[in-house]
């Protein structure tokens, strides 16, 4: 079954291959061929794979999403886009998997900083890409990675040279505009020594069924600082796979904020490799309702001593929604003095909602400080009564408490404009009358 359906994608590949970027690069052709072979053999991940045991992606195999051939972006409603696009930021817009120069805003970027589409980068920065593309993640990891490597049509390349601090955030907007479209993008972010950058990846789409399959590789140089925000607001009918694979050099800092709100079926991977004395913080908030299935898979590899990791994922699940959290922390035999804490907290708002949570600690070193905790609970009836006794009706009381639970994660956003946009999305889910943002 898997092989037959995956082969629909494989069969289509021949007609797509000639339009894919990087034809002139033998190393990329090899990478793509190898990825295609892997994908042909294993297809999309199946429930038999331990890392996918809670998430069934067979619907993606049954449908056939195809790459976009037209590259029109003029029909995007700018009023709608305003809910997502930041003003005080540089932005790169990818429409149906293709860079849109018309919608992107890159004026005033420092000369030393490179932000360009993957297609252009494969021409201008082929050497740098050869040593980075595919280095933070292995095609053998699972079918989506191999699929992305073989299929990516475009994406983004970001290079911040040593000591450069990017003053404004850089937003990457992935927009899906066509029914049954397949948007497969590859993004490479490189921050050299002591560089600093904040990147926001936003995924949105029109109210239709499509597949986003995005892979981002991040290379955080020695003592460099990268903050990556992911705002996943895909359409309610969409399928989303987004993988973020990070390699941190010594003393490097990386913070990830994962807001998973949209999609019918959405899976995110956030995998981080930590070198000596590097810091990483993974934050996540997933809000599921109706029949949404939202899966977040994190892996933190403590490879060297004295690295520090903190992880907090919170989920709110209503109706028949299902939330999956799989968090793995692996402490290598060399990684003495590791300090790691992982926590996953789930709030179930309905009897039919489900949270599957699987934190895993694998510790091979003997002098470490590691902990993890998991909760799955419901709203506290005492708190609801307290609010009711203060004139708040029950529904609003529930919304206030749910919002407060979720807002802890929104509060961590350090970019005001983004904070307000994410807050807006959360308030839509849990409306409260007369709320003043400054009091939240």
């Amino acid at each position: 079954m898997t092989t037959t359906t995956a082969s629909r994608y494989t069969a289509e590949y021949e007609s797509i291959a000639p339009i894919l970027p990087g034809q002139a690069l033998p190393w990329l052709q090899r990478l793509r061929t190898e990825a295609l072979e892997k994908f042909s053999a294993q297809g999309f991940p199946s429930l038999r794979e331990e890392e996918w045991r809670y998430t069934n992606v067979s619907a993606i195999e049954k449908k056939l999403f195809s790459p976009s051939v037209i590259r029109a972006s003029s029909h995007i409603d700018t009023n709608w886009l305003k809910h997502y696009q930041l003003i005080d930021a540089w932005s790169v817009v990818l429409v149906d998997g293709h860079f849109s120069p018309a919608l992107s805003v890159l004026d005033g970027l420092p000369d030393s900083v490179s932000v360009l589409s993957m297609n252009d980068a494969l021409v201008k920065y082929a050497t740098l890409l050869e040593t980075h593309l595919g280095q933070a993640v292995d095609n053998a990891e699972h079918g989506f990675i191999a699929f992305n490597s073989a299929w990516f049509t475009d994406g983004l390349f970001v290079y911040i040279p040593a000591k450069q601090v990017l003053a404004k955030p850089l937003q990457v907007l992935h927009i899906a505009t066509q029914a049954d479209v397949l948007a497969t993008t590859r993004t490479i972010i490189i921050a050299d020594e002591i560089a600093e950058v904040k990147v926001i990846e936003t995924f949105v789409g029109l109210d239709t069924s499509y597949l986003s399959a995005a892979v981002t590789e991040v290379f955080v140089g020695a003592n460099a600082d990268v903050t990556l925000y992911k705002m996943q607001c895909e359409s309610a009918k969409a399928y989303h796979f987004g993988g973020t694979y990070v390699k941190q050099a010594r003393d490097a800092r990386f913070i990830h904020h994962n807001f998973a709100f949209g999609g019918l079926l959405a899976r995110s991977d956030i995998h981080v490799d930590l070198d000596f004395a590097s810091d990483c913080e993974l934050n996540g908030l997933y809000l599921g309702a109706k029949r949404q299935h939202i899966d977040n898979h994190t892996r933190i590899n403590h490879l060297k001593p004295q690295a520090f990791s903190r992880e907090l994922y919170k989920g709110v699940l209503d109706d028949r929604a299902r939330g999956v959290f799989q968090g793995r922390v692996i402490v290598d035999i060399d990684a003495q003095k590791t300090d790691s804490q992982m926590s996953n907290r789930n709030l179930l708002l309905s009897d039919d909602a489900e949270a599957d949570t699987k934190p895993q600690l694998e510790i091979y070193a003997d002098d470490v400080k590691c902990g993890h905790g998991v909760t799955v609970g419901q709203l506290d009836e005492k708190s609801i009564f307290y609010l009711q006794s203060r004139c708040i009706d029950e529904e609003t009381a529930r919304n206030m408490l749910t919002f407060a639970f979720a807002n802890e994660m929104v509060d961590k956003i350090r970019i005001k404009e983004l904070h307000d946009k994410v807050l807006e999305q959360v308030l839509v889910r849990f409306p409260q009358e007369g709320v003043e943002k400054s009091w939240l």
Partner: protein, 250 residues
């Protein structure tokens, strides 16, 4: 204001209140005293509408309306305020937000427009000073990390701002040192008015040194076994509860 007639209440099939009668007129302060387990807290919970209690008989009329028919938030909007024995911590919801939401709910209930933002802040800050609280409290999450005394003060602050008609104080003095008790009592006393009534449920006579009741009732085994003036409280302090309980049992 409040009329409780022959009220019987069960919790988990066990009768806790066994026929309570109480008349509270506007402007009066009633103290309900009794040993632990006498049903004092049940009475205050039943008046504020907490779930889990089954009324098996009798009635509670508040300002001519059937109080037991109303959901908790409607009671609160109609002017019933319960100051909790153990105020609940609400992480992530700031005091000031709750206060404004509560005040506007009351105003909406009475067909009034929302409170003006400046007027609201002036009102709130005035009450904060009255209760000798730090303004920073307003922006902290409701009761989160508050000491016992701060929580009780916060209850009275809410009461002072929402201006209820019927204030139910559930064991307000428990957990308070004498200085905090004085501040809380002063806050309560400042709210005394001819059209506002108080029902104070307390185990300790001490509170009544600072908030003078008009009537004292002794609750034991789910019934009011004795009613009288403030002097009854002094008698209780001298003799303890046992003489009344024994009396009843005999």
């Amino acid at each position: 204001m409040l009329s409780i007639k022959n009220l019987t209440v069960n919790v988990n099939d066990k009768q806790i209140l066994k026929g309570i009668n109480l008349e509270v007129k506007a402007g009066e302060i009633h103290a309900i005293m009794g040993p632990n387990g006498s049903g004092k807290s049940t009475l205050s919970h039943i008046l504020s509408g907490k779930a889990g209690y089954i009324v098996t008989g009798g009635s509670v009329t508040y300002q001519g309306k059937d109080l037991l028919e109303m959901p908790p938030e409607i009671r609160a909007r109609e002017g019933v305020f319960l100051a909790f024995q153990y105020p609940v911590e609400i992480p992530g919801v700031s005091n000031i937000y709750l206060l404004k939401a509560a005040l506007n709910s009351i105003r909406k209930h009475h067909g009034q427009p929302e409170v003006d933002a400046m007027d609201f802040l002036t009102l709130v800050k005035g009450k904060v000073r009255l209760l000798e609280m730090d303004e920073k409290f307003l922006y902290r999450a409701v009761n989160e990390g508050f000491s016992g005394g701060e929580k009780k003060r916060n209850e009275i602050l809410q009461m002072a701002i929402l201006e209820p008609k019927l204030c139910i104080l559930d064991e307000t003095d428990s957990g308070l040192d004498i200085d905090a008790l004085k501040v809380v009592a002063e806050g309560v006393n400042s709210l005394r008015s001819p059209d506002r009534s108080f029902v104070m449920v307390t185990h300790y006579q001490r509170l009544l040194d600072y908030i003078k009741p008009d009537f004292v009732h002794v609750l034991a085994h789910g019934q009011i076994v004795r009613s009288g003036g403030p002097e009854l409280a002094l008698e209780l302090e001298e003799k303890g509860y046992s003489w009344l309980e024994d009396n009843k049992a005999a």
